[in-house]
């Protein structure tokens, strides 16, 4: 198997010393240029060939290896004057404050030192961290006068990002990096521990740079554009600047230039070194490319979403994966995914040739790379890899022997992982069985849309092909779609019927729906249940007609008994249970659907449905999958015969009804005006805890809400189950009655931030109204319905309300995404131990019993550990029989 070249035992962080930098350097870089006119790297320049190779074909002058093998080698720059390392500036300031300016000792007396040293020795990470002891010690020292030499107290001021001043009284003195380094050098080694420096790997004075490492060219490769013009990496540009200024600084010092000029250059050097490390340091103008683009320097390479960590180490691009648009296919199983043949012939699985599959493998190899269940590569026993082409395929097949590995193409039945971003929960990646199909989209069963949150308006999804037998079987056992019908979050189905399946089930199973033997035969045939579930003898009598309930019960387990209220239940004051005259109480006894209509309450995804979850939990996921596969196909077949459509006439209301609605709205308007007049006369009574204006607003809002509800109620009386839109709303397929009454009767009050619309112009919402008009119409009450059509002002108000909704969703997704990221970062290492306690990676206890009750929600029933009612029901049923 895979051999590990090197094992990391531990990682030690420290600060590079100047000696270390020189030791690891292969050359001192002194020339600011890169290439000469012939395009040859300049000796001792930034592109010196000793720093590594970036051109294929050349050999490294240091290690002699080729491009790709040579890791590159560091060089160094000797700085003419030291500069502060910006990354350490804050620490330098803390240290300067707490050590004596004369003797360099930490300004703590012997007893204080002893106290802190003792604290350090017993510090544990969580109760009292070492950092905290150090911080306390340094804070104390910073306020003190040196107890060792008693030199007078001077405060050190730090001006971001890298300037230090010493202040005493009115006077102020700038500390140059040389001064700073001198002071840090004076600190005795015994004090290192107390200022938070590990004496084995660091010295504080190394925070001031005297030598700068030059990264290998492999880290900053130059790219050759089409016009054979070389373009250097941003880091190289920055290093050029540093060397150039360094050179000028040195020359000026050597020539004895005036102090002022030297200081200016020194400052410039500090600027370049600073931006070389971090080009977004606050208080420093970012260094720019000639084109005005801001340079990407070391810090920018590492941090943020596009940085090395988040984009290259936490997340990588992978082989054996595919991505394309998804589209629906109701005729494949929920477990399957349709993969384009195009994709299938590109993705391969390594399969070892054995005595048992030799012939099969030969056949596959003979197909070559271009005929579907073919193979692309063969790895022979000597480890050589051979590409299969149309010309070599027969020879390779002949040569094939036990022990070879064939990289065969993806074929039907292979297990693959399927994923849709954002991968918010574990159901965003599930295992599917491959079904190779023509055309170029991934095909997906509609029942699996909810967990992926997929629709087909252009969504793309990813497919990954596990490469080992272990990985495939593990994925098949625990990640298979059918194993995830019940959500691990709250124990209810997330995979199940939606939209047409729901309304179709209603149309099929409602009282009075009947089907001829021919129709039933056809439907069963189309939904592949003719052979397995139905006795052929049932069709001998061609004159017998079937009720929809009889069709449905074919799919139920033979010993299932459940009772529940259907979604269409009218919630009568006194429930008649199995005598329900609206056929809304479902009774299933021993696999027979005796009463009731099947709708959303039975098998709708993401709802506490009563039938699907029982089948999955009591009969297993195989049974659950089969039920879903068959029921959906059957319903599609039936709904195509019965027909379901909706149009504007579904929300038409007879004249008489419209008059009643108008009257309700008219009365409401009057009442609103009465309230306003009462307010104007000052007769309105103040509600406790509210201003007079609030009272008025609340009264009006309540009045209008009531009016809308009443108008909706009137509309509902006319919207019977004959209208298909109503069927969809009442069965839970799509929409709700509120949407329908908005279409048929009245839209109601538009709001922004929970208030009636009032802003826009001075004291009014639109110039169509008088200033200070508080009437319903002027403050965004839309009395029209969608059916009737909105007046221009109403239309404008409606879009105001709509805009708020849009903004809210946009803001919400951004905020919840960030919150989720933070939560994941905080909780990712938590784990439930064998004793059911929850602990983090350092074994700290977070919860003594998982979730305080030890219940695994994925095996719970709607969050409860046991479903008592269901157990009682089953036991009673058993006793009766």
């Amino acid at each position: 198997m895979f051999k590990v070249p090197k094992v990391i035992d531990k990682i030690q962080f420290g600060i590079l010393s100047p000696e270390d930098v020189r030791k690891m350097s292969v050359l001192r870089v002194i020339t600011a240029d890169t290439y000469d006119d012939d395009g040859y790297p300049i000796e001792k320049g930034l592109m010196d060939q000793r720093l590594g190779v970036i051109d294929p074909g050349l050999k490294c002058k240091t290690c002699g290896q080729k491009f790709g093998d040579c890791p590159g080698h560091f060089g160094h720059i000797e700085l003419a004057r030291p500069v502060i390392h910006v990354g350490h500036a804050k620490d330098v300031h803390k240290i300067l404050k707490s050590v004596c300016r004369d003797c360099g000792k930490l300004k703590l007396d012997a007893s204080q030192r002893e106290h802190f040293q003792e604290q350090l020795s017993k510090a544990t990470d969580r109760l009292k961290s070492k950092e905290l002891v150090v911080k306390e010690a340094m804070d104390k020292a910073a306020k003190a006068v040196c107890p060792w030499c008693g030199s007078d107290k001077r405060t050190i001021k730090f001006e971001k990002p890298y300037t230090f001043y010493e202040e005493w009284g009115e006077e102020r003195n700038k500390l140059t990096p040389i001064d700073v380094r001198e002071r840090l050098e004076k600190i005795p080694v015994e004090d290192y521990e107390l200022i938070g420096v590990n004496k084995d790997v660091s010295k504080p004075e190394w925070m001031v740079l005297t030598v700068l490492p030059v990264p290998p060219v492999t880290v900053r490769p130059s790219i050759t554009l089409e016009s054979s013009v070389r373009s250097e990496d941003d880091l190289t540009h920055k290093l050029v600047d540093i060397i150039r200024i360094n050179q000028r600084l040195r020359e000026n010092i050597d020539a004895g230039a005036p102090q002022l000029i030297v200081e200016d250059l020194w400052e410039l050097l500090q600027y370049h070194v600073t931006t070389y490390f971090n080009n977004s340091t606050s208080g420093v103008p970012p260094a720019r490319h000639r084109s005005g683009r801001i340079l990407k320097t070391i810090s920018q390479r590492l941090s943020g979403k596009e940085g090395r960590f988040r984009s290259n180490l936490s997340g990588k691009r992978v082989d054996f994966s595919a991505r394309t648009v998804v589209s629906p296919d109701p005729y494949i199983s929920i477990n399957e995914v349709g993969v384009p043949d195009f994709v299938a012939s590109e993705l391969t699985v390594p399969e070892r040739v054995t005595a048992y599959n030799l012939e099969e493998m030969k056949k596959i190899v003979r197909n070559g790379p271009n005929k579907h269940p073919g193979a692309n590569y063969v790895i022979r026993n000597d480890g050589r890899r051979k590409k299969i082409t149309d010309t070599t395929k027969d020879d390779v097949a002949e040569e094939l022997d036990v022990g070879f590995i064939v990289e065969r193409q993806l074929r039907d039945g292979d297990i693959v992982l399927f994923n849709r971003q954002p991968s918010l929960h574990r159901l965003s990646i599930m295992a599917h069985e491959v079904r190779v199909m023509p055309y170029k989209t991934f095909r997906l069963n509609l029942c699996v849309c909810p967990p992926y949150n997929a629709d087909f308006d252009g969504d793309e999804m990813n497919l990954h092909l596990p490469q080992t037998e272990e990985a495939r079987s593990e994925a098949g056992i625990i990640m298979k779609v059918q194993e995830n019908i019940i959500s691990p979050r709250y124990g209810e189905p997330v995979i199940g019927g939606m939209q047409d399946y729901i309304s179709g089930a209603y149309l099929m199973t409602r009282d009075g729906s009947e089907f001829s033997a021919e129709e039933v035969e056809e439907s069963f045939y189309e939904s592949d249940i003719l052979k397995s579930k139905v006795d052929v003898d049932a069709f001998k009598d061609r004159s017998k007609s079937w009720t929809g309930k009889e069709l449905f019960e074919v799919l139920l387990p033979k010993d299932l008994s459940v009772e529940f209220r259907s979604k269409t239940c009218r919630k009568c004051e006194k429930c008649e249970f199995d005598n329900c005259k609206f056929d809304n109480y479902v009774v299933i006894k021993e696999g027979k659907l005796l009463k009731g209509v099947i709708d959303g309450a039975a098998f709708k995804a993401r709802s506490s449905c009563k039938l699907l979850d029982k089948i999955v939990k009591d009969y297993g996921s195989d049974e659950g999958r089969e039920f879903l596969d068959c029921v959906t196909k059957l319903i599609i077949s039936v709904i195509m015969k019965v027909g379901l459509t909706t149009g504007i006439d579904d929300v038409d209301i007879p004249e008489e009804g419209l008059e009643r609605i108008d009257e309700i709205l008219e009365n409401a308007h009057k009442k609103v005006m009465e309230n306003i007049e009462a307010y104007n006369r000052g007769e309105l009574e103040k509600q406790p805890g509210q201003t007079l204006e609030d009272t008025l607003e609340n009264r009006i809002m309540a009045e209008l809400a009531k009016a809308r509800d009443n108008a909706g109620g009137v509309a509902e009386q006319y919207l019977g189950m004959k209208r298909h839109a109503v069927i969809m709303a009442k069965t839970g397929a799509k929409g709700n009655m509120l949407d329908l009454t908005q279409m048929a009767a009245c839209l109601g009050q538009m709001t922004v931030r929970g208030k009636r619309l009032h802003r826009g112009y001075q004291d009014r919402s639109l110039p169509h109204f008088k200033r200070g008009d508080r009437s319903a119409k002027a403050r965004g009450f839309v009395s029209a319905s969608y059916r009737k059509g909105l007046s221009p002002t109403e239309f404008f108000f409606h879009s105001m309300g709509g805009r708020e909704g849009l903004v809210d969703t946009a803001v919400r997704t951004a905020q919840s995404g960030y919150m989720q990221r933070r939560l994941i970062n905080a909780l990712q290492d938590l784990k439930v131990e064998k004793d059911r306690s929850v602990r983090d990676n350092s074994n700290n206890i977070i919860q003594f019993e998982y979730g305080e009750d030890g219940v695994d929600p994925s095996r719970s029933s709607y969050g409860q550990a046991v479903d008592i009612d269901w157990i009682v029901h089953k036991t009673l049923a058993m006793r009766k029989s």
Binding site: R126, S129, S837, N844, I845, F848, D853
Partner: protein, 103 residues
Amino acid sequence: MTKKKINILDNEFVPEHTILTEEESNELLQKFNITYDKLPLILETDPVVKIIGAKYGDIIKIVRSDSPAGKSVFYRYVIGEDAKQGLEEDLVDEIVEEEPTEE
């Protein structure tokens, strides 16, 4: 206005807190096979801790009767005010630094 003395232990929202004896403490640590520093923490200055008179180093048992499980037991290790500072400051630092990188 005169200050009214209220015993917060009487409030129905305050769960039952008890100090474990040394014996019980050892038993607990043994049961979970941990040392005291792995326990959840509570401040010495926490109002309830002050009232029941728990000191630095004690372990407090909290029985909550409003949890989804009906009754749940929790244990906390009492720490001093000084140990707290670091915990909080570190957190503040992190958040301030990470926020701008997002977006």
